[in-house]
C-alpha cells in the first residue's frame, strides 16, 4: 500500500485527494448552504403570496361581485376595482395592438433582411440598451412626448402608447428568438420551389415562428400590465367613475389602485389593496397559462 503512494509526488496527493472527515463535512455543509440559499428565495415567494392572501382574501370574498363592479370610494368598504380592472384590460389590448405588429416587423427585418452593416449593428445595440432602461424613464418619455407634445393628455391612448414603447424591445427579442429557431432548411426549401425571400418568410418562416412569438409577446404584456411607474408618471388617474369610451378618455389601472390604497394609512385600504393584488395576480396567472398553453400546443420541434 505504501509503495503505491510513493509513485505520486506527495504534495499533489495531499492537495485534494485526501478526503479527511473535516473536508467531507465542509463539502456537505457547502451543499446544505447552497440549498438553503436557493430555498430562501422560494420561501420568500411563498410568504409574499401568503401575505397577499392573508390580507386580501376576506375582503375579496366578502362580496366579490361588488368589489369587481364598484368604482373607487372614500369608504374602504365600498371601494371597488372596476375602473382599474377594465382599465388594465383596455390598456393591455391597445398595447398589444400597437407594439405587436411593429415588434414582429422589426424582428423579421433584423433576422431575415438586414444586411450585415453598421446600421444593423447600431439598431441591435440600441434595442439591447432600450431593454435596460428603467420603466419610470419610459413614463417620462410618455409624459414628454404623448401627454404634452402630442397633447393626448393622461388618456387611454397616451397610457397604452407608453406601455407599447416600453414593451417593444422585449417583444422584438422574443420574436427574433423564435424566428431564429426556424431552421435554414425551411427557407432553402422554399427558395428551391421558386419562392422569393418575402414569400419564404410569409408562408413558411412566420407561421412556424408565431407560437413562440405569441408566447413571448404575452409574457411581455403581462409584465407591462403589472407596471405602475410609467402609468403613474404619465398621470393616469385613480379616481374616475366611468370606463373610457374613446381613446382620449382618462383610464385607470389595477396597479395604480393598489399603489394608491397601499399608500393610505387605514388598514381597511391595505386589505382592499391586497384584494386587488389577488385579482392582478390572477390576471397575470391567466395570461401566463395562455402563453404556456400556446407554447406547448403549437410550437414545432424541428
Amino acid at each position: 500500500m505504501s509503495a503505491s503512494t510513493e509513485v505520486f509526488a506527495p504534495g499533489a496527493l495531499q492537495r485534494g485527494a485526501t478526503r479527511t472527515p473535516a473536508k467531507v463535512a465542509l463539502d456537505a455543509a457547502f451543499a446544505v448552504l447552497l440549498f438553503v440559499g436557493t430555498i430562501v428565495g422560494v420561501i420568500a415567494l411563498g410568504v409574499l403570496l401568503f401575505t397577499i392572501y392573508d390580507n386580501g382574501w376576506e375582503r375579496l370574498m366578502a362580496d366579490p361581485g361588488a368589489f369587481l363592479s364598484n368604482y373607487v370610494s372614500r369608504l374602504p368598504a365600498r371601494a371597488g376595482i372596476k375602473a382599474g380592472l377594465y382599465g388594465s384590460i383596455y390598456l393591455m389590448l391597445l398595447t398589444a395592438l400597437f407594439c405587436f405588429p411593429v415588434g414582429v416587423g422589426a424582428a423579421i427585418y433584423l433576422e431575415e433582411f438586414a444586411p450585415k452593416n453598421r446600421v444593423t449593428d447600431f439598431v441591435e445595440a440600441n434595442i439591447a440598451n432600450l431593454a435596460g432602461v428603467p420603466s419610470v424613464v419610459y413614463g417620462l418619455l410618455g409624459l414628454g412626448v404623448f401627454v404634452r407634445f402630442f397633447a393626448l393628455g393622461p388618456s387611454l391612448l397616451a397610457g397604452s402608447l407608453t406601455l407599447a414603447v416600453m414593451s417593444l424591445p422585449v417583444i422584438i427579442v422574443a420574436a427574433r428568438e423564435s424566428i431564429r429557431a426556424v431552421p435554414q432548411s425551411v427557407r432553402l426549401g422554399a427558395y428551391a420551389l421558386g419562392a422569393t425571400r418575402w414569400q419564404a418568410v410569409w408562408t413558411q418562416v412566420l407561421p412556424a415562428a408565431i407560437p413562440g412569438t405569441l408566447t413571448g409577446a404575452i409574457l411581455a404584456l403581462s409584465r407591462a400590465i403589472g407596471e405602475t411607474a410609467p402609468l403613474l408618471v404619465v398621470g393616469l388617474p385613480v379616481v374616475i367613475f366611468n370606463l373610457p369610451n374613446s381613446l382620449d378618455d382618462p383610464v385607470s389601472a389595477l396597479p395604480l389602485l393598489i399603489f394608491n390604497w397601499t399608500s393610505r394609512p387605514q388598514a381597511s385600504f391595505a386589505e382592499a389593496a391586497a384584494a386587488a393584488s389577488i385579482v392582478l395576480l390572477a390576471l397575470l396567472l391567466a395570461m401566463n397559462a395562455v402563453a404556456i398553453f400556446l407554447r406547448n400546443r403549437f410550437s414545432i420541434r424541428w
Binding site: 492537495r15 463539502d27 440559499g37 439591447a128 435596460g132 420603466s135 419610470v136 418619455l141 403589472g226 393598489i258
Partner: protein, 309 residues
C-alpha cells in the same frame, strides 16, 4: 469558365416591387426603436436643460438638500437621492447576491434535473410579481413582521431603507440566478472532469473551477442587478419612504431618485414649473446611471469571456 459558371448559377428571383415596399416597411419598424431612443434622450435633455437654466447645475450635483416643495421654487440638491439609491442598491445586493449566487451554483452544479424543473419556473414567477405587489409585501410583512421583530419597534421606522432593500433584493435574485447559471452551465464539463481527476471535491470544483471560469457572466449579472435596483420605483416608493436625506441608517425613511419622480408626479407638478423640469433632471441622472451600468455589463461579458473549444 466565367461565362459557363454564370450560365449554370441559379439566380434568386428578383424581389418584386411590392416586396421591396414590404421590406422597407419592416425596416421602418426596426428603425422605430432608434426613434424611441432619440425620443427618450430628446425629452430628457430638453427639460433638463431648461431646469439647469433656472437652477444651478453645480448645486444640483453638490447640494445635500432635496426639497422641491419648499418656498421660493424649491431646493434641488440630488445627493440625498443618490444617497438613498446607493443604500437600496447596496442593501439589495446584500440580500440578492448571496441568494442569487447560491441558487445559480445549486442549479448548475448540484440539483437534479427534476428539482431544476421545479425551481426555475418558481424563480420566473418571483420575477413576474408586479413591483407594486412586492412593495405591499415589504410594507406589510418585511417591516412589521421581520425587521421590527428582530430590531425592535423603536429602532425601525414604518418606512425604512432596509425593507426597500429586502424587496429589491428579492427582485434581483432571479436576474443574478438565471444569468449566472447560464454562464456556469456553459463552462465545459471537461474542466470539471479534469478537476475531479485531480481529486477535487464537488465544492472545490464549484468554487475554484466553475465560478472563476464563469466570472464574466456572474459579474455581468451583478451589474445588471444593480442597474435594475437603481431603476426600481414602486417597491421603494412604497416601503422605503419619501424623506430625502444624507444617511447610512437603514432603519429610517429615505428617498431614492425613482421615488422622488413618483412623488413629484403624485403632486402633479404643472408643466413648465421648476418642479416639473426637475423630474427630467432626475430622469436624466437615472438614465445615464443605468445606461452606463448596462453598457459596462455588456462589455464585461464581451471582454472577459473565456472561450473554450
Amino acid at each position: 469558365m466565367a461565362t459557363a459558371q454564370s450560365d449554370l448559377s441559379i439566380k434568386r428571383q428578383k424581389p418584386r416591387t411590392g416586396e421591396r415596399l414590404i421590406v422597407q416597411a419592416l425596416f421602418v419598424c426596426a428603425v422605430l426603436s432608434i426613434a424611441v431612443t432619440v425620443g427618450i434622450i430628446a425629452v430628457l435633455l430638453l427639460d433638463t436643460v431648461t431646469f439647469f437654466r433656472e437652477s444651478s447645475i453645480v448645486s444640483f450635483f453638490t447640494g445635500t438638500r432635496w426639497a422641491p416643495s419648499s418656498g421660493g421654487g424649491g431646493v434641488y440638491g440630488v445627493l440625498p437621492l443618490l444617497n438613498g439609491t446607493l443604500l437600496i442598491v447596496l442593501g439589495a445586493l446584500l440580500v440578492g447576491l448571496p441568494l442569487g449566487l447560491a441558487t445559480a451554483i445549486y442549479l448548475s452544479e448540484y440539483s437534479s434535473s427534476r428539482v431544476r424543473n421545479v425551481l426555475k419556473p418558481t424563480l420566473e414567477i418571483l420575477a413576474g410579481i408586479p413591483t407594486v405587489v412586492v412593495g405591499f409585501f415589504a410594507l406589510n410583512f418585511v417591516t412589521p413582521t421581520l425587521l421590527r421583530a428582530v430590531f425592535g419597534n423603536d429602532r425601525v421606522f414604518v418606512f425604512n431603507a432596509a425593507a426597500g432593500s429586502v424587496a429589491v433584493g428579492l427582485m434581483v435574485v432571479p436576474i443574478i440566478a438565471s444569468i449566472s447559471e447560464d454562464a456556469m452551465r456553459s463552462v465545459p464539463s471537461s474542466l470539471r472532469e479534469a478537476a475531479y481527476g485531480l481529486g477535487s471535491t464537488k465544492r472545490q470544483v464549484s468554487l475554484r473551477v466553475v465560478v472563476p471560469a464563469a466570472l464574466s457572466g456572474i459579474a455581468a449579472s451583478v451589474i445588471l442587478a444593480m442597474s435594475r435596483a437603481v431603476g426600481e420605483t414602486m417597491a421603494v416608493a412604497i416601503a422605503a419612504g419619501n424623506t430625502p436625506k444624507m444617511t447610512f441608517d437603514y432603519f429610517t425613511s429615505i428617498q431614492t431618485l425613482t421615488a422622488a419622480i413618483a412623488q413629484i408626479v403624485g403632486g402633479e407638478a404643472a408643466a413648465g414649473t421648476v418642479r416639473y423640469n426637475a423630474l427630467f433632471a432626475i430622469g436624466s441622472t437615472l438614465f445615464v446611471l443605468t445606461l452606463a451600468m448596462n453598457l459596462l455589463s455588456a462589455r464585461v461579458v464581451k471582454r472577459f469571456r473565456q472561450v473554450y473549444q
